[in-house]
Each structure stands twice: as structure tokens, then as C-alpha cells.
């Protein structure tokens, strides 16, 4: 059930991590942040995650790529936005969306010397809070590929020259034609929860890369990954990771949904293993999003799409389904109860599927056709909680404190 609030929402109550009769941890109040091609919507859930109150649209008419709640304070939101005509910017709210303040200096590349063609940020695509010991600090990934950092809560952004101005990396990023249909992107900015200087990033195209010095230097991490047939996997430019996630339970465990399959990596090893080979052949292992269980490194969810022939990028056969593994990718199980059984030709983009930390875990995904789906039982049963939204680009589940 969704209730609509036309005016701005009141400040939600602080969630209590109440304990149920059986002593298990109940879910906190979940805030689902939905970024779309025409604005952003916030869905406030009750403790049971059955009832949702919608707050939006925010930034109606803006192309919003990502909205993220800062888990370090539980109330600051950052939103990456642009319009079809106006340049890209970042907005910040410290009152859960009641008011927004625009960045003083949004992510922007260095001005090129006279006579040279410089790069221009088309849009900020990805937002990641830095380490919990670095309050107010954020990373942003852009299209075309660039990595930026703010140390003041998203007001002033500076590029990381170790990546943005590195000639080798510029070559690996390729041209504007070497990315996704709406531009090449830097995404999946991951901070190791044990070490603020240990970072991962991914680029479409441009591969997965790792830094041990807070982004001053980088090294490719693409061994074992496949590329499109007839291309050379030794060429970093040909690698197209769609979404990389780290297990909160075991930060040495990484999963990746790639243009060419589903992979797993257990550090310190450097070679990815294509666990998507174990998916049903008729479904394949192509898709965009990747979601890892907050407390179980062996449990992940993916949303396969049709990556055959001309790459329709729709649900295979028009029958959408989530697939889950409980053993790190050895076996996969189809989870489609409640989802359309026929003629549903949408899919889910790389940022548009996520999990909360409830018990059982709640899952959320938004579709290219503007539907918001949720499961309160780790994917066994799905419910649509919003329809007729614009194309959904990103979905994040945050917990209010």
C-alpha cells in the first residue's frame, strides 16, 4: 500500500531496532530512494515494510542518476541531477529532502590547455560515501569516466588526477562510442570498510581497477574476465563491468555482473571466476545489477536480461525473474513469484536493485518501465509498490536513525 503526501513529508521518527517475540532483529524504518529520468521519489516504509508513503517528485524534469543517504549520519541525502538542457550538478539535503542545496562546485574536469579538446562531465552517475572514519567525504563517478571527491558533504568536488588525468587510463576509457548508449561511465565506487585508502572502481568501458592509496594510483583487476568475442581481453578498454559489489560480511569477497557474465573474486586472488556459467542456459548470465546479502557473503541476487543476438536488454522471453545463489554462485534459483508471467519487456538497470539489512532481507528493484518492486522475504515473493513512474535509473534502500 502506498500513501501519497502532496506536501513535504514530516521528519520521520527515529527507527528503533526493536526485537520481536522470538528475539530476532526486526527491520528498521526503510527509506527507498528512487532516481528516474524525470525526477526522484522517496518511499518511506513502516517497520513491517508493508506500507509505503511516497514523497515526490523531487527535481521534476531533472534526469536524476542517483540519490544516496549518508549512512554515517542517517539523514543527509545527495542527488546527482541534470536536465536535457542544463549542465550536471549535485544537490544536498540535510533534512531528508525537505530542502535541497546545490553544490558550489559540481564534478567537472580540468580545463584543457589552449588548443586542446578537454573533457566535459555530461552527468554525475554514481555517488558513494567515503569511509565511516571520513565524515562528510564522498566519491562521485561521472559520464564520461571520471572520479571525483568531496570533503565537505558534497558542496565542492575535486577530480582525482591519478585517474582522470592519467594518460594510460584515458586510453583505456576509450571514446564516447565505447560506452553505454547514454554515455561511458565510471561506477561501482567501493570503499573497503577496513581501509579507507583501499578502493575499487569500474568503468563501462574500461574495466575494474583497484587503488591502495586513496586513488592516487590504480591497477587493473580484470584477470579472468571475458570480453566480447573476437576482442582481446588483454586490452583493458574492451572490458565492460556492469556492476561490482563487495560483501559487507566479508570485504574480501567481490561479485560482478559484467557485460560477459557473472563473476566472483576472493581476495587476495586476482582472477575472477565466471560463476554465471552455472545459470540456466536458456536465461544466461547477462544483466546489469548485482546485490549481495548484508550478512551472508555466499548469497547474492541478480536480474538477468536478454543479451543474445542484437541485445534486446529486456527480460528473457518477456518473463522477468530474479535469480539467487546461496552458495557463492555454484547453484542458482529462480525467484519470480508475484512477478508478471508473460509479456513484460522491461529490465533493471545497474543501480536499480538493492537490499536493506532487515531480517529477512528486503529487496527492491526499479524497472525501465517505471515500476518499483519489493520483496520482504529475500525474493521469495514480490510485490509492486509503485507503477507509472518514469524510467527508473537507481534504487537505494537506506535506514533511518
Amino acid at each position: 500500500m502506498v500513501r501519497s503526501t502532496r506536501k513535504q513529508v514530516r521528519r520521520p521518527k527515529i527507527a528503533r531496532h526493536a526485537r520481536g517475540a522470538a528475539g530476532g532483529r526486526r527491520s528498521p524504518n526503510v527509506l527507498v530512494l528512487v532516481a528516474t529520468r524525470k525526477g526522484a521519489w522517496l518511499y518511506h516504509g513502516d517497520v513491517s515494510r508493508r506500507s509505503w508513503r511516497v514523497d515526490g517528485p523531487h527535481f521534476l524534469g531533472h534526469i536524476v542518476s542517483h540519490v544516496v543517504l549518508d549512512p554515517r549520519d542517517g539523514r543527509t541525502l545527495l542527488a546527482a541531477a541534470k536536465t536535457g538542457h542544463l549542465g550536471p550538478t549535485v544537490f544536498r539535503s540535510t533534512d531528508l529532502g525537505r530542502t535541497w542545496k546545490e553544490a558550489v562546485r559540481p564534478p567537472a574536469f580540468t580545463k584543457a590547455p589552449g588548443g586542446e579538446k578537454g573533457r566535459v562531465v555530461d552527468h554525475t552517475f554514481w555517488l558513494t560515501p567515503c569511509h565511516e572514519n571520513e565524515p562528510e567525504a564522498w566519491y562521485a563517478g561521472t559520464s564520461p569516466q571520471g572520479l571525483f571527491r568531496s570533503n565537505d558533504g558534497g558542496m565542492v568536488w575535486e577530480g582525482l588526477p591519478g585517474l582522470n588525468d592519467n594518460p594510460q587510463y584515458r586510453a583505456w576509457m576509450g571514446s564516447e562510442q565505447d560506452g553505454t548508449p547514454d554515455g561511458p561511465k565510471l561506477h561501482s565506487v567501493i570503499v573497503d570498510p577496513r581501509d579507507s585508502a583501499h578502493l575499487y572502481i569500474a568503468m563501462s568501458s574500461g574495466g575494474v581497477h583497484e587503488s591502495f592509496d586513496a586513488g592516487r594510483s590504480w591497477a587493473p583487476l580484470v584477470q579472468g574476465l571475458e570480453v566480447v568475442e573476437n576482442l582481446d581481453p588483454a586490452n583493458i578498454q574492451f572490458h565492460d563491468p556492469h556492476c561490482v559489489r563487495l560483501s559487507p560480511r566479508d570485504p574480501d569477497r567481490l561479485y560482478q555482473q559484467n557485460h560477459c557474465g557473472i563473476y566472483r573474486l576472493d581476495r587476495p586472488a586476482k582472477e575472477w571466476r565466471r560463476v554465471g556459467r552455472n545459470m540456466p542456459k536458456r536465461v544466461g548470465d547477462i544483466g546489469f545489477p548485482m546485490v549481495v546479502h548484508p550478512r551472508d557473503a555466499d548469497t547474492v541476487w541478480v536480474f538477468p536480461m536478454d543479451g543474445t543476438t542484437v541485445w534486446p536488454r529486456t527480460s528473457p522471453d518477456g518473463v522477468p525473474a530474479v535469480y539467487m545463489t546461496r552458495d557463492g554462485g555454484e547453484r542458482w534459483r529462480r525467484l519470480d513469484s508475484g512477478l508478471p508471467e508473460r509479456q513484460a519487456w522491461w529490465t533493471v538497470k545497474r543501480q536499480a536493485m538493492t537490499a536493506d539489512t532487515g531480517n529477512p532481507v528486503g529487496l527492491y528493484f526499479g524497472t525501465t518501465s517505471g515500476e518499483l518492486w519489493t520483496s520482504r522475504d529475500e525474493g521469495n515473493r514480490w510485490t509492486c509498490i509503485a507503477r507509472n513512474l518514469p524510467e527508473i535509473y537507481a534504487v537505494e534502500a537506506a535506514e533511518l536513525r
Binding site: 536536465t83 536535457g84 538542457h85 542544463l86 549542465g87 550538478t89 546545490e102 553544490a103 558550489v104 559540481p106 567537472a108 574536469f109 580540468t110 580545463k111 584543457a112 579538446k117 578537454g118 573533457r119 566535459v120 562531465v121
Partner: protein, 85 residues
């Protein structure tokens, strides 16, 4: 000089027509940004070029050169191009 502001930028100026100064378009946009922080980057990218879907007219003439000289009596119209979706 008088500067006509397009609808998408009214969230910055609140006014359809504003006053600003500058000897060139570059200087004019710097002054507009001083008066209405954030406006300039929505119009002009980090390489000092007008964004692809924005247009600027001076006394009715479409101008692409950001160093185009301006006079205090000029009338500047900023418009969004006929594009979108």
C-alpha cells in the same frame, strides 16, 4: 545590461529579466554566477563552451563566441534550444 533568463534557470534568478555586467559573454556569465550562484555551470561547461542545448542571442543575433564584445546597452537573451525528450 538586460539579460533574459529562460524558464529552466528561473530557480536561480526567480526573475525573467535580470541586470548583469560584462565586456564579453564570458564576463557576463561570471557576473551572473556571482549574483546567482550555480547558474553559470548549468549554461557553460568546464571547457568554457556553451552547453549543446543552450543558445545565446545578443540584440537578436545568435552568438557562439564567448569572447564576443558586449556593450552596456546590449540586450542578451539566453534560450534553450528546440530539443529535448
Amino acid at each position: 545590461m538586460k539579460v533574459l533568463i529562460p524558464g529552466p534557470l528561473l530557480s536561480y534568478t526567480t526573475l525573467r529579466e535580470v541586470d548583469a555586467i560584462g565586456g564579453t559573454l564570458t564576463e557576463l556569465f561570471v557576473d551572473l554566477d556571482r549574483r546567482y550562484p550555480g547558474l553559470r555551470f548549468r549554461l557553460v561547461d568546464e571547457q568554457e563552451k556553451m552547453r549543446p542545448h543552450m543558445r545565446c542571442f545578443v540584440n537578436g543575433e545568435q552568438v557562439f563566441d564567448m569572447m564576443r564584445p558586449l556593450h552596456p546597452t546590449d540586450s542578451v537573451h539566453i534560450v534553450q534550444a528546440l530539443s529535448g525528450g
